[in-house]
């Protein structure tokens, strides 16, 4: 009788220890999964900020070509920007928040300039050329701000 009780208690003990161990293992696995998700998120966010830094560089090159009146080369750069902006907007949309709409506006700025640059006599009027250059510098400023905000979020994540 005593022996039977002892077996019962030891079985129950093993069960409790097993359950505790299982719960601990599940918890560890969940934590590891969460850590993996967070790490992946941080990498993705890093990629987003790198991508916007590159985009800013492309816009700066476009500005130099526009200032130097190298219309054909500027048009190639404008087309590069027009291909990249919607792609990056779609790809990194979850990190962009309100900046997604701003990117749409910037896309429209570059689109108008690309159309103008593909015309017969692109930006041969002084006022028009000045306005175009000013717009591109504004766009660079906006891209820089977006890049800055992405970096700030990345810093928060750690």
């Amino acid at each position: 009788m005593v022996l039977h009780d002892w077996f019962d208690w030891s079985n129950a003990g093993v069960g409790v220890v097993g359950l505790a161990f299982t719960l601990w293992a599940v918890r560890q696995a969940t934590g590891a999964r969460q850590a993996a998700i967070e790490a992946r998120e941080a990498i993705w966010q890093r990629e987003a900020s790198d991508s916007f830094s590159e985009l800013k560089g492309m816009a700066e090159e476009f500005a130099i070509l526009l200032q130097s009146e190298r219309s054909k080369e500027a048009l190639v750069r404008a087309r590069d920007l027009l291909a990249r902006i919607p792609r990056d907007r779609a790809r990194f949309g979850k990190f962009l928040h309100g900046d997604s709409d701003k990117l749409k506006e910037l896309e429209s700025v570059f689109q108008k300039l690309a159309i103008r640059l593909s015309s017969e006599s692109p930006l041969e009027d002084l006022d028009e050329a000045r306005e175009a250059i000013a717009r591109v510098f504004e766009a660079i400023g906006e891209l820089n701000s977006i890049y800055g905000r992405l970096m700030a979020r990345l810093d928060e994540v750690g």
């Binding site: 500005a63 130099i64 130097s68 009146e69 054909k72 080369e73 009027d125 002084l126 000045r130």
Partner: protein, 132 residues
């Protein structure tokens, strides 16, 4: 030093041209597009642009009774001058680009006064109105 003087003069000419105080006229220049303005029949400023595809060369000069006193040539060829990826915002970023912009702005302003776009448009509108 002479080059700085040319930039200084170009900046002054640009301001006066844009304010309507100075008018330029077109000059035959072969392959180049040339504009000239005279000051008291003795001094003349010339601005000439030669274009070959995307490549542009602008020649700015001042001539007196004894010939050319000062001249400056700028172009928009970037290879070896501008390293892409450098920051562009700020005047010191690319002196060559800024220099080209100054003379190109003067060229465009001179052309605008020489062609007299506004007057031509007004004249065209008047002629169309007359047709009824």
């Amino acid at each position: 030093m002479m080059s700085d003087k040319a930039e200084e003069l170009a900046a002054q000419l640009l301001e006066k041209t844009e304010n309507g105080k100075l008018r330029w006229h077109s000059e035959p220049g072969g392959e180049s597009e040339t504009y000239k303005t005279e000051l008291e029949d003795e001094l003349s400023f010339w601005i000439k642009r030669k274009t070959d595809g995307d490549d542009k060369v602008i020649l700015f000069s001042l001539t007196g009774p004894k010939g050319t006193v000062l001249s400056k040539s700028v172009d928009n060829i970037l290879s070896g001058v501008v390293r892409f990826g450098d920051p562009v915002v700020g005047k010191s970023a690319f002196p060559k680009v800024n220099q080209f912009r100054l003379f190109s702005n003067l060229f465009h302003a001179a052309r605008k006064t020489a062609i007299g776009k506004d007057q031509t448009i007004e004249k065209a509108q008047l002629l169309l109105e007359r047709l009824g």
